[in-house]
């Protein structure tokens, strides 16, 4: 590892001040950032570790919403009885991230702020119409994910929590790369009073996206059969050694049908 400056602030204010300086990077769980730094794919000159900000970790369910603090670990979301009761799809999703050791350290805030095109949480945020809360403002998930590893977060802005409205029904289905456990295709389906949303991670060239044709069909008839014949175009989908764009396009339909059947 190359040399860098390490900060571990004990207040959100000082964290924001430190994070605002040039070439600083926020360290949450570090499950992506540290390997990325080892490979020099990222080379921040200073790290601002949020692990002393215990106020940023925690789960609460009230008023039809699940609020999860940014520093809440995947293992804690997966094991939360409250989350499993309110949005079982979200607990399932958290339990399928990485492996047990990664889930003990990795955080929801880190995952969402990083917006890896194959990460799981962005699909849940967009499908459930979540609100991303920062130290400065609230951002609708619709406006948050702006492209590959890109979000609406500004310099020095720190994601502090995520508010998920509880849907009537939802499910997440993931076709995993068996080595990395990232999604080759992951589909999150949510039905609520506002309608049906279908989001896809792992497949899009620009990260997470919605599938309007599925949403329209499922709004009329929430059944796997309703989307069986709808072809997702391969344009704009990733091709790599694991799966080409045509394969991924087909997989989106398969995983979406499974998600509709699993929705509860």
């Amino acid at each position: 590892m190359y040399p860098f400056t390490y900060h571990r602030p004990d207040s959100l204010g000082s964290a924001a001040a430190l994070a605002g300086s040039a070439d600083a990077k926020i360290l949450a769980g570090g499950m992506t950032l540290l390997p990325t730094m080892k490979q020099r794919l990222a080379a921040p000159t200073s790290l601002v570790d949020l692990n002393s900000l215990s106020d940023l970790a925690g789960i609460s369910v009230a008023g039809g919403k699940v609020t999860i603090g940014a520093m809440t670990r995947h293992a804690d979301v997966a094991a939360s009885e409250e989350v499993r009761k309110a949005i079982p799809a979200l607990a399932d999703l958290a339990g399928w991230i990485g492996d047990p050791m990664v889930r003990h350290r990795g955080t929801i805030g880190g995952s969402v702020a990083n917006n890896d095109p194959a990460a799981d949480y962005p699909a849940a945020c967009l499908a459930l119409g979540a609100t991303i809360v920062t130290n400065m403002r609230e951002i609708a998930a619709d406006d948050f994910f702006t492209g590959l590893f890109d979000t609406a977060l500004e310099e020095g802005e720190i994601l502090t929590g995520i508010v998920f409205p509880i849907p009537a029904k939802a499910a997440y289905q993931k076709f995993r790369n068996p080595a990395s456990r990232y999604a080759i295709v992951g589909v999150f389906v949510a039905q609520s009073a506002a309608g049906v949303r279908v989001t896809v991670t792992g497949a899009g060239e620009n990260g997470v996206f919605r599938v309007a044709s599925f949403e329209e069909a499922l709004a009329k008839d929430f059944s796997a059969k309703a989307i069986e014949g709808i072809v997702v175009p391969a344009e704009g989908l990733n091709s790599d050694i694991h799966a080409d764009a045509v394969y991924r396009a087909n997989l989106i339909n398969v995983m979406a049908r499974r998600a509709v059947e699993a929705a509860r």
Binding site: F4, R8, K38, Q39, D49, P100, M101, S180
Partner: protein, 163 residues
């Protein structure tokens, strides 16, 4: 340089380190606890697994400063003197290793698994929970068997044996 303090296998240690020092490096190079292995260095193989405040984590992907003040248990902290931890004994008795490189991580993950899932583990649970540990020798069958019997042997002694 920065000062880091943590409790490793029950003993409080404090050292001045370069901030870039990873926990795995700290354990191996500063404390000479070389039972924690670094296989891939990319968070995939699980050889470097240790317990941080009772939870299994990959020490190649943690900064030592990031776990300042924590309680760490490494493979060296499991046995009681000459008496192996039941999970270590099970790996030996059931041929859960060949070259042994992945074994410290396998055992630390297995003990964490028992702490969370109990001592009566079915094969599917064991295989799912071992997702983050890679072995190049055994084909996993004997590792799964060893975890199964090691978990049974831990029954009744789980709490004392865990940390």
């Amino acid at each position: 340089m920065a000062t880091v303090s943590m409790t490793v296998n029950g003993k409080l240690v404090s050292r001045d380190i370069d901030p870039r020092t990873l926990l795995a490096q700290f354990l191996r190079e500063e404390l000479r606890l070389t039972g924690t292995h670094v296989g891939c260095d990319t968070t995939q193989c699980g050889c470097c697994t240790v317990h941080v405040d009772g939870k299994a984590m990959k020490s190649c992907t943690l900064l030592a400063l990031g776990v300042d003040g924590s309680h760490i248990t490494t493979i060296e902290g499991l046995a009681h003197g000459q008496e192996l931890h039941p999970m270590q004994a099970a790996f030996r008795d059931h041929h859960g290793l060949q070259c042994g490189f992945c074994t410290p991580g396998m055992i630390m993950t297995a003990v964490d698994m028992v702490n969370r899932k109990g001592t009566n583990l079915d094969d599917q649970t064991i295989r799912e929970e071992l997702e983050g540990n890679i072995c190049r020798c055994t084909g996993y069958h004997n590792i799964v068997k060893a975890v199964h019997y090691g978990a049974e042997a831990m029954a009744g002694t789980t709490k004392a044996a865990a940390e």
